[in-house]
């Protein structure tokens, strides 16, 4: 997970790229067999114990999903966490420093 977060005008602007294949479940492999769907279903961000971002994704979001959003409050030097979970229950959480 790559995250860039910067504080600007009272908001924290976040841009993130989640490394994930986002298999749609419709693609076939070399032997003509369907590759099972494997995609991120939810992404969220928490700052000071409060959820500041939440998104539900489907398999039609691009490979290595890119998301940009912003939330109020939060200052340069503080941290927040970004997390995702996919349809197989795999997940990742990252603590991000606000620049």
């Amino acid at each position: 997970m790559k995250v860039k977060a910067s504080a600007r005008n009272g908001s924290v602007i976040v841009k993130t790229l989640l490394a994930h294949p986002m298999e749609t479940g419709r693609r076939k492999d070399g032997d003509g067999k369907l590759i099972p769907g494997h995609y991120i279903t939810e992404v969220e961000a928490n700052h000071n114990g409060e959820r500041v971002f939440h998104c539900e994704l489907g398999p039609s979001v691009s490979k290595d999903p890119y998301l940009a959003f912003s939330f109020q409050g939060g200052n340069s030097g503080e941290t927040f966490t970004m997390s995702w979970v996919d349809n197989k229950g795999e997940n990742e959480s990252t603590e991000v420093e606000i620049r």
């Binding site: 790559k2 860039k4 841009k15 790229l17 890119y66 940009a68």
Partner: protein, 287 residues
């Protein structure tokens, strides 16, 4: 299916036949090659200035995005996390990994920021040397196997070297008869119609640039060599300039030349000369 017979006829006109009889032959001894070439550069760049008065000259290094706002905003979004970033990192690792004999790419290229030294005309060997060729020659000189020219590790090393060279000025000299001949070969290639579609590089990248060719706007011919190797979404990988040349040629249904063939090296030489005054900004990301 069997219709090729008539496909050429459109452009083979009487006029060209007549004109061919009065073509002067050039390439005489004692010519001022730099001045001749500078004239070409000035005329070539003026063509694009006139076609796209709103585009800053320096912006042509961004290819079609210098002339297509809709595509540019998509590209800028992609560049938030550039798709070539990982390749550049891998290229750096490759660059720093010693060869079996203990030397490394750094033995040949120092810190790697040498993009603007290529392509150049080697007087002794009487041929154009490109960065990719030099990378492989560095390998063979150190007892390593050559790498494939179109993609993979070689493209990654080239991408890393381009990355650390970003901003270097394009300023290719054409100072000798040999260099001029190579330049003229590239120029001839650029303007010659070829393939079943009978289309030249110039047809798409001068005549048709800025217009839709089916669903694509061909990029301007100015600045095309500044940003390679390029990560194409279509390839989902990095590819070198000569890989792109091959793809272009196949698109017009001409048989592609091999990467690093004299034809493509001379074409790269000519095209880079045409972009003199711009800067190298590779690696790039494109559709």
């Amino acid at each position: 299916m069997f219709t090729t017979r008539i496909q050429l006829t459109l452009s083979l006109t009487v006029a060209t036949l007549v004109a061919s009889a009065c073509m002067p032959m050039s390439k005489k001894a004692g010519m001022d090659y730099p001045a001749l070439v500078q004239d070409d550069v000035t005329t070539f760049q003026a063509f694009f200035e006139k076609r796209f008065p709103d585009t800053e000259k320096a912006d042509y290094i961004n290819g079609v995005y210098s002339i297509d706002a809709d595509a540019r905003s998509q590209w800028e979004s992609l560049e938030e996390f550039p798709p070539y970033e990982l390749s550049v990192d891998q290229g750096k690792a490759l660059y720093e990994t010693p060869f079996a004999n203990g030397s490394s790419y750094a033995t040949c290229f120092g810190d790697g920021a040498v993009r603007s030294q290529y392509p150049y005309y080697d007087e002794d060997r009487a041929m154009v040397i490109t960065l990719e060729l030099a990378i492989n020659e560095c390998r063979t000189a150190n007892g390593e196997k050559v790498l494939k020219y179109k993609k993979g590790d070689l493209a990654k090393v080239s991408a890393y070297m381009s990355f650390v060279s970003r901003g270097q000025a394009i300023n290719v000299d054409v100072a000798s008869e040999g260099a001029y001949n190579a330049y003229m070969d590239g120029k001839e290639f650029f303007y010659s119609k070829r393939g079943q579609f009978n289309i030249s590089c110039a047809d798409c990248h001068m005549r048709a640039t800025g217009f839709y060719l089916r669903a694509d706007v061909p990029s301007p011919g100015l600045g095309q060599t500044s940003h390679f190797p390029t990560f194409r979404t279509k390839w989902d990988a990095l590819g070198t300039l000569h890989r792109r040349y091959g793809g272009c040629n196949e698109n017009i249904r001409a048989k592609a030349f091999p990467a690093q063939s004299p034809e493509y090296r001379n074409l790269e030489y000519f095209q880079t000369v045409m972009s003199n005054g711009l800067v190298f900004n590779g690696p790039g990301s494109r559709k």
